[in-house]
């Protein structure tokens, strides 16, 4: 039974946002992209909606930290 498609969109949206935040990652965008991809792909098997929501929350947290780092660098 596939989970709620709106969760899928949320995941894709946060993936895009995180990709965008990694544009000027110190170790290079390709490195960042590969790591981010791996992190998301490792959770691809999640089917439990609560677990997916928790994953999204974790991604939101990472986004906040990344955004803070970008803001402090400027």
């Amino acid at each position: 039974m596939p989970p709620d498609p709106s969760l899928r969109h949320q995941v894709i949206r946060i993936y895009k946002e995180l990709l965008f935040l990694g544009r000027d990652y110190p170790l290079g965008y390709d490195y960042y992209r590969a790591r981010l991809h791996k992190a998301f792909a490792s959770q691809a098997g999640l089917r439990d909606e609560d677990k997916i929501r928790r994953g999204i929350e974790r991604a939101e947290f990472v986004k906040k930290v990344c955004g803070l780092r970008v803001a402090l660098q400027m």
Binding site: H9, I12, R13, L19, D30, R33, H37, A41
Partner: protein, 139 residues
């Protein structure tokens, strides 16, 4: 006899005036910025879009640009399988996250924004070309 005296007087009168002028004339920097500002639109003229021109993209051009973009995408496992009909997942070995990245690259290439729902439906080069052709804003 009178002339040199007159010259001297005129020069003496002009000099302080000239000196008082120099500080005003000195701000060369604002002048250059003014010049730069004036130059700016001309320099960008190449990038200015002429709205009167027929902006429609040809199908071949769109296809070529999308294929080029995929060629440069390092996760495409087998570039020889790249064709106008290739499927992102089945032929090119991309997963759903890579597909998201491809769609983002297409958005950037054509300066448009593809809503989530439409982006979800783009799984082949054909579909992407078709979508772009239906977007009057794409360029």
């Amino acid at each position: 006899m009178l002339r040199p005296v007159l010259f001297k007087a005129v020069r003496a009168a002009a000099r302080p005036a000239g000196r008082s002028v120099t500080p005003i004339a000195r701000p060369v920097i604002p002048r250059t910025t003014l010049f730069r500002q004036r130059l700016h639109p001309a320099a960008c003229l190449g990038a200015v879009r002429c709205y009167s021109a027929g902006g429609a993209l040809s199908k071949d051009e769109v296809q070529g640009r999308i294929l080029d973009l995929l060629k440069n995408f390092d996760k495409v496992s087998d570039a020889s399988k790249l064709s106008p009909t290739s499927h992102f997942t089945n032929d090119l070995g991309l997963d759903s996250l890579d597909t998201v990245e491809v769609v983002m690259a297409i958005e950037e290439e054509f300066s448009i924004e593809i809503p989530d729902k439409e982006a979800d439906a783009i799984h082949t080069v054909d579909k992407a070309v078709e979508y772009i052709m239906n977007q009057p804003d794409a360029h």
